[in-house]
Every structure is written in structure tokens, then in C-alpha cells.
């Protein structure tokens, strides 16, 4: 039997600031993998660059800490190579909603069977607190000393627009719920997206646990197949912030539809040996 500690790298302890929202996500990922009994050898966690993106280093799974904003295409490449693997792409909001935006969109649209979890702290953590795409209007940061004036990026609406087949939000202040959502996301066949409200205790004093705790509420008994309702809920923000699954439907994955990938994991498919007969085509 696996327990959550089996998924943690014993050599490297997390280097996040004490109280950082990323800890809850580390716990949620390891708990979810243990609950689903997925062998660590069959898990790839791919990340970008940022505080949150250090995640794979703290895990005892296969991990890849790649480029800023490019974790999603990398993760898709892993999945397309070996569809037997559980592939989790994990990064920050700067990483995923600035430089990685179009990868996010198109991978969701293709319905590649990966889980994409974003640690959304509304700032850049690692580069010392610049405004991120989800920074609320008025947020004062190093790059917005007079307060942010740009309409925040809406990850839930974006994911729905793109065609993600699983769209959820969770909160680092509610680990049990975060873990449950993670389990559902990993189990979901198709592109699963979780936006995790994850306070940065160092650079974002305004959007703290204390700010979010009274505002978040659990989505319960909502019809997760109702796109219009999910889309409406995506714009609910402020005093009432829904967390939970907004949308979940079944749609064939890219891997199901592609004429080569549908024949099974690419890594198990035989390599074509070129023969004289093949050359006849060029006569």
C-alpha cells in the first residue's frame, strides 16, 4: 500500500516560504496519488518556472522542471509518447496565463488527457512580486506601484471557452477539498484544469488566507454538464467565490481520435523498419 509520503522526495524538502499555498498542493497531489494507488513510477509531473514550479523536485515521481510557460506542450508530448502515464502539469499563474496562454488554450481544445493544476497567487512569486495576469484591479505590486489597472484574466472562463472537459477551482486553505478535486481531475479522461487559489504570503498581503476564507463557498449539487451555468459561475468573484467542479463532460480525447495514437501507447508500438518495398513508392 502506498501512502502520501511514498510520493515525496526524501532528499529535498520544499523550499517555499512558511505558509505558502504551494504546500497544500504538494499534500493534495501526494494524497490524491496515494488514494488512486498510482505507482510513482507511472507518474510524470511537469512544471514551468516559478516558486510553484519547483514542485517536481519535492516529489518521488518522474519529474521535469522545464521552461517558463512551456509545461503544457511538454506534458502533452509525454502523454502522446506514453498514454499509460499519469501526467500532471503544474505551474504558476504568471507561467500559465501569460507566456503559456496559447498552449493552455490549444491543449484544452485538443482534449489531451492530462491534468493541469495552476497555483494561482495573483502575483509572480519567484521574481519578487510583480503583478500577474490574475492580479485584481488596484493590487499594488513592484510593477504596479499605483495599483493594477488591467482587467484580470479569468482562468475558469478561459478554460471553458477553450473546450476543457474538466474545469475546477480549489483553495489552498481547504486541503481536503483540494485533494478531492485533484482525485477527480486525475481520474477524468481528457483535459482537466484546476485553478488553485494559493496565497503568496510574501508578496501578496492583500489576497491572503484571511481574505479568501470567508469568501469561498463549495459548489454543491450544480449540474456539471451545464456549460451555460458553468460559464455564468466563472464570473462570480468578490464576496462569493465558488470552489469545486464547474464543468465536467466526456468527449473523445486527442489520443482516442488520432489515427496513430489510438493504436495504443506510442512507446509500445513497433518502429517501422524501412524496406526496399517502401522505396517502390518513389519509383
Amino acid at each position: 500500500m502506498m501512502n502520501m509520503n511514498d510520493y515525496k522526495n526524501k532528499r529535498v524538502p520544499p523550499d517555499w516560504c512558511p505558509g505558502c499555498g504551494n504546500f497544500a498542493q504538494l499534500s493534495a497531489i501526494t494524497m490524491a496519488l496515494a488514494e488512486l494507488k498510482i505507482d510513482p513510477k507511472d507518474v510524470v509531473v511537469a512544471s514551468g518556472i516559478g516558486c510553484s514550479s519547483n514542485m517536481p523536485e519535492f516529489l518521488n515521481t518522474y519529474g521535469f522542471h522545464g521552461l517558463h510557460g512551456r509545461l503544457v506542450p511538454f506534458a502533452a508530448g509525454v502523454k502522446w509518447a506514453n498514454s499509460k502515464l499519469t501526467v500532471i502539469a503544474y505551474g504558476g499563474d504568471g507561467d500559465g496565463f501569460f507566456e503559456g496562454t496559447q498552449h493552455f488554450y490549444h491543449t484544452a481544445k485538443r482534449n489531451v488527457d492530462i491534468t493541469y493544476m495552476v497555483s494561482d497567487n495573483q502575483v509572480f512569486g519567484l521574481t519578487t512580486g510583480q503583478a500577474s495576469p490574475t492580479a485584481p484591479i488596484g493590487l499594488r505590486t513592484k510593477t504596479t506601484p499605483d495599483g493594477n489597472i488591467e482587467t484580470p484574466f479569468n482562468p475558469i472562463a478561459f478554460a471553458l471557452n477553450a473546450g476543457a472537459t474538466f474545469v475546477a477551482r480549489a483553495f489552498s486553505g481547504d486541503v481536503k477539498h483540494l485533494k478531492d478535486i485533484t482525485v477527480r481531475a486525475i481520474k477524468h479522461k481528457g483535459f482537466s484544469f484546476i485553478d488553485v487559489i494559493s496565497p503568496c504570503v510574501t508578496w501578496n498581503k492583500e489576497n491572503s488566507y484571511e481574505y479568501f476564507r470567508p469568501r469561498v463557498y463549495h459548489l454543491e449539487n450544480n449540474d456539471v454538464t451545464n456549460f451555460d451555468q458553468a460559464y455564468k459561475l466563472a464570473f462570480e468573484w468578490g464576496d462569493h467565490i465558488p470552489i469545486g467542479v464547474f464543468y465536467e463532460v466526456e468527449r473523445p480525447t486527442y489520443e482516442d481520435l488520432d489515427e496513430v495514437l489510438r493504436d495504443g501507447p506510442l512507446i509500445e508500438q513497433k518502429v517501422h523498419t524501412l524496406t526496399e518495398e517502401d522505396l517502390e513508392e518513389f519509383a
Binding site: E57, A75, G77, D263, A283
Partner: protein, 588 residues
């Protein structure tokens, strides 16, 4: 002066874009290939879908032809402009000479007001014959080709079969085309004199383009995934693989951009599947950050970089070798990389296949540098040697004790574990890391780890240099003068050497096939030569500068950057001037 050989024919089909010039040219190459002749081709076209001038040149012989040639025997002109332009001796289209006095110009007899020059004009009722069989004006080309086949003395039945294959799926249309072509063939023989060429027909050949050769080489080397964003001239490989995806079991995908493409294939290679991407300069520029990612994480990667003239979007349908600096400089920092530059279709196949093994063996990016000329021209081959063993390089055993992904070794190569493998879980990191893959880039940094890891990675280059094959040479043994060349200029340089040798000049050439790292044997080859001349299809002599820095030599530079490939006679003339055997170049 261009010498026309009895066992060689050069045909040019000229017209406006949209006239079917390219498919006509390809039909000719295939006809020669099936007849048992070697053929090669050159496609001169512009970046517009309709209108604009284009021509397609095919050179065929019973001995291997190494370039498109710069003479002309037969012109099939599809419009008046074509007749004027390609019979006008004052025009030197990118270096190629137009039809000479023995040449034959085939065109529709409705074209009348052209300037008469010293050439055999053969007007024919191309349109009238075509009209008997179809309303489609493209049939006119087929009639003209039939006449060209008659003029060059090729078996009509082979040509007819090629046409049938070309239009095969369209049933009756194929037969109508064959009949029209036969009328063109007969009309020519009834009214004009063929060239009287004498060929020794051999075994049938295969017809293949450089882009196809790269794609096939990759497949032969175990390719399972090709993810690329279209950009001329790399697209021919993408199209070919997409059309053969099912047959070869290769997953082919156009993603949202080149950045996605390269990161996706890095993901696949990381997961143990041979994957490749390709692009041209601008698209490759977007990939550069990820080239370093492959270098740092030590994930194997093969990149096909097909050059076109820059800077920026440059000349999209023309050829140049101007991206060497970009490929050598791609991505920040120092890390091992290997760059191949195939010189012809066969090398494109073999080098790409080898690159698949080399990338995995050295766990580092490997480039195949081509250019539009090599990528898009059709050539003939007898066959490929298909014996090859896929070598996955050094892999970790399952459940290694205390597995270290980046184990320090003498060769610089560490045993690789891939996801799904039991027991060897680890992290691969774009940040500097220690042997385990744990990050060492911040407060806990151990400078020793950084130094050891840099040295480990870079040691792969020393290991690779030891296994390099000797630099290919051409008539170097007794050469007083030597030409350095890389990539697709190979065939033209060799022919220039032949031309100069026939005049008693002791000259040879070396082909820089391993563009990076350079083979140390080049230093020896360049020793004690009277003169070293670098021939490059770019402005600044990018390879030449790099060779100078490495081997402390000072090559004289012959460059061309008008978007066209070199032509053998023009090049030979220029070389003669440079070595002081001729005062100046007088082109006829």
C-alpha cells in the same frame, strides 16, 4: 562556355505560377528515373500562388548528375515571356544560361511576336491538340512534355506510364493526357529534328526530394513523432510525414506554434519515444530557448533546420545558407550540440538516420541543417542501404540502487531512466542541478556541483569527436588549391572541381559535413595548400569565419546571396579568377 554532353540533357519548363510548371517538371524527373537515367532538378519560383514567373529545370544523364546544370537543351515555354526570357543570352537568371544555338524551344504556335535569336524555334499547336481532348488548359503542358520527350529521345511508353500514375485516380483523364502527349510527341518528330542524345539506360531509379530524404532517414532511424509548425522550406518533410503517418506509424501534428512543437517533442523524447521537429530560420528562432533545455536536461532531440534567405521572413521561396550562426548560437550558455549538414539527398537520408542514434547516445540536441535547394529539389537514387541498428544509448537498469540521473562519468554520458521504469524516479531540471537532478541554483548552491556538471556535459563533445568519421574530400590528394564547402553546394563544387581539373588545375574540395563540432582532421587537410577558398550561399561566409577561428587559416571567400544556388560553370570561372589563372570572368 558550357559544354553540352551527348549523354546528358537539360530541359526547362517555364511559365507563370499556376501554369503547372512544377508538376510538369516532376513528371520529367520521374520519366528519366524510370527510364534508368539519373536526374536532378531545380525549382525557380516566387512566393505567390498565381502569377509571377517560374521555371523548373531538369538535368538527366546516364551518369550521376550533381546539380541542375547551367546549360539548356530544351525549353518548353508556356507563355511568350517564357520564350523571350529563356532564349535571351543577355539574361542570366540566377547564373543559369539560356538556350544556346543548338537548343530547342517548344511553345504554342499562337505565340508569334517573340524576338528571334540564334536558337531552334519549334512552334507547335499545343493548345489545339490539347483542346481536342479537354477544356482544361493544363493539358497543353502534357502536349509540350510529349514533344520534349521526343526531342530528348526517351521512350514514350515510360512517359505515358508516369502520366497514368499522375492522373491514375482520375480514370479517363489519364488516357486523354496520354493521347494528347502522344500527338505532341508525334508532331515534334514529324516536323523537327530531335537532339540525337545517346544515353546508356540503366536500372530504374527512385525519385526523391531532400525533405523526403530527411523524413525517410528519420523514419529509418526510429522516428515515432514529428511535431512541427509549417514554414517553407521545412514543410516538405512535414507534409510527407503527415501523408505517411499511418503507414510508418509516426504521430504527426501541427501545434499552435514552434515553441509548442519543440517542447512537445522534448516531452516525447524524455518519455522514451524518438521525436523530431523541424522549421526554417524564423520558426527555429522561436525554438531556441528549448534547444538549451534539451542541452541542460540532457534529453535527446533532433531538429531539422531548413534554411531560406533571411533576415526575418526574407525570401520565402529561395535558397541560402545563412543560419549557421543562428544554429551555433541558439540558446544561452554553453552546452553540447551536434550539427550535421548533408550535401545531397543520400547524405540527407543517412545523416538524419544517424542523428536519431547520436541524439540518444549523447542525450543532447542534434541538428540537420538543410536549405531550400536541398529540401525541395528532386533527385534520383539507385537505392538506400537500409541496414541500420537503432541504439538507445546508455539506459539505467530497473531499480538501480541510489540512481543518479546525471551521474558524473568519464564520457560525460549518464545512464538514462525513463518514466514508467521501476525504481529510478528522479527529477530532470532546466535549472542547474547535481547528479540526482536536485536543483543547486539558489542559496544552497554548491559551486563544485556546477563546475562538475558543466564539465560532465561538455565532456560529451570530446567523446563525440573521437567517434567522428573522417571529413569527406574530393580529389584532395594532390590538390594545390582546396575548396571548403558545406551543405547543398556539394554537387556544384565537385563539378567545378571537375571542370578545373580538366583544364589541368590541381584543385580539390573538402565537405564540412560535421559543421559542429568541426572535425580536427580539417586542420590537417588544409595544411600546405597554395590557396583555400570557401564557397558559401550566404553574405558573410559564416562557415569560413568559424573555420578560420578554429584552424587559423584565411580562406578566400566566394559567396552568393541572390536566393539562387550556385551554377557549376560560373563557379568554376570565379574560382579560376581567385587562384589567378584567369583575369576576369566573362560570362557568355
Amino acid at each position: 562556355m558550357t559544354i553540352m554532353r551527348q549523354n546528358e540533357v537539360i530541359i526547362r519548363v517555364a511559365g507563370a505560377a499556376g501554369d503547372g510548371v512544377q508538376s510538369a517538371g516532376e513528371i520529367l524527373v520521374r520519366t528519366f528515373a524510370r527510364s534508368g537515367l539519373y536526374a536532378t532538378s531545380y525549382n525557380y519560383y516566387q512566393d505567390i500562388i498565381r502569377g509571377g514567373e517560374s521555371w523548373y529545370q531538369v538535368r538527366a544523364s546516364d551518369v550521376k548528375v550533381k546539380n541542375q546544370g547551367d546549360g539548356l537543351d530544351i525549353l518548353v515555354a508556356l507563355n511568350q515571356d517564357g520564350v523571350e526570357r529563356h532564349t535571351n543570352p543577355d539574361i542570366n537568371e540566377g547564373g543559369a544560361s539560356p538556350l544556346g544555338k543548338d537548343g530547342i524551344a517548344i511553345f504554342d504556335n499562337s505565340i508569334k511576336n517573340y524576338t528571334k535569336r540564334d536558337t531552334n524555334y519549334c512552334p507547335m499547336p499545343l493548345a489545339d491538340i490539347a483542346a481536342k481532348y479537354s477544356k482544361n488548359t493544363l493539358l497543353k503542358n502534357t502536349v509540350g512534355l510529349g514533344a520534349a520527350i521526343a526531342a530528348s529521345g526517351i521512350d514514350f511508353n515510360i512517359f505515358a506510364d508516369v502520366i497514368r500514375d499522375q492522373f491514375g485516380k482520375k480514370g479517363d483523364i489519364a488516357e486523354l493526357n496520354v493521347k494528347a502527349a502522344k500527338e505532341g510527341y508525334d508532331y515534334f518528330l514529324a516536323n523537327y529534328k530531335p537532339l540525337g542524345k545517346k544515353f546508356k539506360f540503366g536500372k530504374k531509379k527512385y525519385m526523391i526530394s531532400g525533405g523526403m530524404a530527411v523524413a525517410l532517414g528519420a523514419v529509418a532511424g526510429g522516428l515515432k513523432m514529428y511535431v512541427a509548425y509549417p514554414m517553407t522550406p521545412a514543410s516538405s518533410a512535414l507534409h510527407f510525414l503527415a501523408q505517411h503517418a499511418k503507414k510508418y506509424g509516426v504521430f504527426v501534428k501541427i501545434p499552435e506554434d514552434e515553441i509548442s512543437a519543440i517542447n512537445t517533442v522534448i516531452g516525447a523524447n524524455y518519455a522514451g519515444v524518438r521525436a523530431m521537429t523541424g522549421s526554417s530560420g524564423g520558426g527555429f528562432a522561436l525554438m531556441t530557448e528549448a534547444v538549451g533545455l534539451s542541452g541542460m536536461t540532457e534529453v535527446p532531440l533532433v531538429i531539422y533546420e531548413a534554411q531560406r534567405p533571411g533576415p526575418s521572413t526574407g525570401l520565402p521561396t529561395k535558397t541560402e545558407q545563412g543560419d549557421l550562426n543562428q544554429v551555433l548560437g541558439a540558446s544561452q550558455g554553453d552546452f553540447p550540440r551536434i550539427v550535421f549538414a548533408p550535401g545531397d539527398i543520400e547524405e540527407a537520408f543517412y545523416l538524419t538516420r544517424e542523428a536519431m542514434n547520436i541524439a540518444e547516445k549523447y542525450q543532447t540536441p542534434v541538428f540537420i541543417m538543410s536549405d531550400l535547394y536541398l529540401a525541395e529539389h528532386y533527385d534520383t537514387i539507385d537505392s538506400f542501404d537500409l541496414n541500420f541498428t537503432i541504439d538507445h544509448g546508455l539506459r539505467a537498469k530497473d531499480n538501480e540502487q541510489d540512481y543518479k540521473r546525471y551521474l558524473i562519468t568519464e564520457t560525460g554520458i549518464s545512464p538514462r531512466a525513463i518514466p514508467g521504469q521501476p525504481g529510478n524516479m528522479h527529477n530532470e531540471d532546466s535549472d542547474e542541478h547535481n547528479e540526482y537532478g536536485d536543483v543547486v541554483s539558489d542559496a544552497v548552491t554548491n559551486p563544485q556541483d556546477r563546475i562538475r556538471m558543466m564539465q560532465k556535459r561538455m565532456r560529451k563533445m570530446d567523446t563525440y569527436i573521437e567517434e567522428m568519421r573522417p571529413t569527406p574530400t574530393y580529389h584532395i590528394e594532390d590538390a594545390e588549391y582546396v575548396i571548403i564547402q558545406w551543405g547543398s553546394t556539394k554537387g556544384t563544387v565537385e563539378e567545378a572541381v571537375d571542370i578545373l581539373r580538366s583544364k589541368g588545375i590541381k584543385i580539390g574540395a573538402i565537405e564540412v559535413k560535421n559543421v559542429f563540432p568541426l572535425n580536427p582532421d580539417i586542420g590537417t587537410l588544409l595544411k600546405n595548400k597554395k590557396k583555400i577558398i570557401a564557397v558559401e550561399n550566404n553574405y558573410s561566409g559564416q562557415l569560413s569565419k568559424y573555420i578560420s577561428a578554429q584552424f587559423l587559416v584565411k580562406p578566400d571567400l566566394i559567396t552568393k546571396y541572390d536566393g539562387e544556388a550556385f551554377y557549376p560553370n560560373a563557379l568554376a570561372d570565379e574560382i579560376e579568377v581567385r587562384i589567378g589563372k584567369k583575369k576576369e570572368v566573362i560570362r557568355e
